[in-house]
Symmetry: D2
Subunit: 300 residues, 4 copies
């Protein structure tokens, strides 16, 4: 039974904390570790054990979930000095939920499986708030048997998990998701500007769109920001560009033309150069309005 597995969680920043919390709250045996130990306090209060070192974590559990910010962190916590792989006894499975490129994922997978530990790439779609509500979703790729083993845990963390292949496909699915998001936002920007310049209040147009079969939770949630012209970053234009870098590299590698994806990339680039580098990428809407000679005003 999956719920008899001893679980380790490495990386309890905002996302990692929200994700591990769901396992703890479901009654699992969870041991956590974080570079800044204080970030594990709430989880300990909720019932988690806290490991002193990564090695301790590795030796105490069957499955280690990892959620760190950068590719370099991922390599460090696994294979660096005092990393998981330097433990005396190793866990059966490592599940990485971080967002890294297919290339980094493949390198890490090799390091891990060369030591006899199974590896699952399992990035997540959703922010901490969505995770807490149980509305996130996990992709997973690696050996099917490994997926089957930890699927009950994945499905406790998130609404559901989808097994997408035996290699690095989960990374690619995450990248595709973000490409799609960027294209959707540009499309939304074009029609919203067109409607508004034609005399339709932005609020009316978005209210309409949010009631159609094309409505998405994402646009619904961001509608207040589009009305208020609030570009406080949830995800910056520069970060979106990084995802498009990855996505277009995968497309080039697979020899897939991306007429719309490549076009949106150029618009992202122009938005960055026109001053929206550190704004939320929803500022693509502001750029589209500028290019149409519109002076936007905040609406309620």
């Amino acid at each position: 039974m999956a719920n008899e597995l001893a679980i380790g969680w490495l990386g309890t920043g905002r996302m990692g904390a929200a994700m591990s919390r769901r396992l703890i709250d479901a009654g699992h045996d969870v041991t956590v570790w974080n570079r800044t130990r204080s970030k594990t306090d709430d989880l300990a209060a909720a019932g988690a054990k806290v490991a002193d070192t990564k090695v301790d974590l590795a030796e105490a559990v069957d499955v280690v979930f990892i959620m760190v910010s950068r590719p370099s962190d991922l390599e460090e916590v696994i294979a660096g000095d005092g990393g998981l792989l330097s433990a005396g006894s190793l866990p059966k499975v490592i599940v990485d939920c971080s967002s890294v490129s297919p290339e980094v994922s493949a390198e890490v997978r090799k390091m891990v499986t060369d030591r006899g530990v199974a590896f699952l790439a399992s990035p997540i779609s959703g922010n901490p708030h969505v995770v807490a509500e149980g509305q996130s979703i996990l992709m997973a790729s690696g050996d099917k048997s490994t997926y089957d083993l930890v699927a009950p845990l994945l499905n406790t963390i998130s609404k559901t998990s989808v097994y997408v292949g035996d290699g690095e496909q989960a990374r690619i699915v995450k990248i595709c998701h973000n490409l799609y998001l960027g294209m959707l936002v540009q499309g939304l920007s074009e029609v919203t500007v067109l409607a508004e310049k034609s005399g339709v209040p932005r609020s009316a147009f978005l209210e309409f769109l949010n009631n159609t079969v094309l409505a998405t939770d994402w646009v619904r949630k961001r509608t207040p920001d589009m009305l208020a012209l609030d570009w406080t970053p949830t995800f910056t234009t520069e970060l979106l560009r990084k995802d498009f870098d990855l996505g277009l590299a995968v497309a080039r590698d697979q020899e897939v033309p991306m007429p719309m994806g490549a076009g949106v990339m150029q618009l992202i680039q122009a938005a960055i150069m026109r001053g929206h580098r550190d704004d939320d990428f929803l500022s693509l809407f502001a750029e589209q309005a500028d290019s149409a000679g519109m002076k936007l005003e905040a609406e309620k």
Copy 2:
């Protein structure tokens, strides 16, 4: 009270029948007319009166809703021989739910209001099935007081109605909706092909996407068609091109650049020329796969 208004319904094809049926089922006093009278039989069985002529219809009611297929039909039923405006006494309001261009709408509005009849443009988003379930949505534009008068009726036909302006804006909103749909389908096609060529089964990718914050009812409903590669038309590529013709004309008129919209138009054009003219426009997906050198196979 709106529900004391005597209602006329002109045009009881598949959409018109579904829409008027909701008014009848809600207990309103509804008189219907259709060129082919037999198409009113079910409505009559459900409680509607049937007018013999358009003039009879006009003289019997306060509000006439119109749902016809073509701009020429719209002009004919209103101002042609025996049309609504040739009646001895005229209704207070005409509400047109057909899909026509802003130009035609403005012409018809002028003909109607010149005779002292209020006019509301109120196109619909949804197909007959969606309408029957009460999940469609109506846009409306014209005098605000006219909208207020008939809003309870609009909100009986559909889930909700959105007032978008005092001119032809409802037509433009409908066009924007369809532009957005076309862009969304192209974006979806690009990422789905990219994922599939990278080794992710189409079904897994779409299952994933349908569980994210970017999920739409539209994609959920069309997922089986994308898996089965079923391009039986619900709306042909050529019809989508017509909407893009209208949309790009509005954009040109408003001086709004549409980098993505114009790009998708060229892809629609190419799809038509490569054989998908009469296929469902979801065949844009097939074209995207072809351009990536992929041989798609049906999945379940």
Copy 3:
């Protein structure tokens, strides 16, 4: 022999004057007419006769060339009050060198040929300076026998003439030329900005390009303007947009996708909305630099 034909020239603005002057200087018998008569003085001094009215012109010659600014002028001088077609005796051939759409051209052609007069559409590529140097080129479409009759005259006006079809193809060729020009300028702008931002002085890059197999007379002539950032209009961005309107309409009519042409159109639109409406369309280069976050400075 063509050189025995009596020639009429209607419209002696800058272009018309330069063109007709070449016929006069070659020793042809030329009668001119212009709305503002003073604009015929130089031509009269060079040996031209001057007609008092359009009717006089029509009655005096075998072939009338027309060079006017607007479609409405063209229709007026041919079929308006006192127009060519109201003359007692009509010329054998009318050759129109103005820039009008294929639709207007077809209408005018019909009016003319219905009266038994042959009609040739023959727009020109080149400005007055180029014409004076004998370096312009004429396209021509209409009956081949008509072309053969006047070809010696066309080849006197310009370096050469090319017969492109028996209908309105000459208009389409002119439009294609201008579409190509717009695309070439955008392409030039992208690579010049890329080179300059990479540290290559603009003057060095253009000097290089002007010496390669991709060099054009057009870019050579405009290089000083690109160096000086001089957007004094020779042809405004708004006028280029008009040509793209025509070109994309022909493409839509012929069902030809224009991925690059349609993309450039959106950039033209954005350049207009960002303030370059009345600048020379070479200001597309300034827009490209802006979108790359570059602050251009004039070079010598």
Copy 4:
């Protein structure tokens, strides 16, 4: 005096032979070396000395020009076993005329200058035929004093040379040239297809274009291939894609949006996937025609 410099030439394939031949024919003292020695026979007959080894070459001359096919060859002949840098005495200057990326160029430059040898990057625009006619052009970047020293030699090889910066700018200029070529070909394809589908014979349209201010030597030379639909490769679509890879990478690095360049890249990718990988890249024209539903036929 530059003509007193002893010149070495490494790499006498088709391009290298044509280039070095111009120095020999101008009376310079030239020593050549090539991996396949027989390819130096014609040059020896024309007056060149032939070195037995790269080291011999390095020790015999003041300036070594290099023209090899691949980046790996370049690194090998300079720094590999028996490479130029392993000689007992080194030349003063190495001029590399090969086509390599800015990154490789910077690496090679460092290896060379670390040994006290000056380095000039000087790629060429033109094919062997163009070179032989003295119509090629060289870009150059590196220390200005080095350029000044060898400029007389560069200007003997080619029509002219342009100094474009003190780093790797010459590589970037070459890449920009090829990006421009790709965009120009796509633009040409769109308007030629549009004209032809509108009824203008391809030969007439191209004859026209080749007489305008937009004419290029390149299009003039390739017109017979466009008429004959001859895609025998002079430069394959796949090679053009490689240049676009480089170009878009430079653009990304410099943060320059390339709306048209990136769009053409997708069309190149699609052309490759639709079967034109090993065809001449002029087959973009065939793809454009296909996308417009045209069945092209060869013309004379």
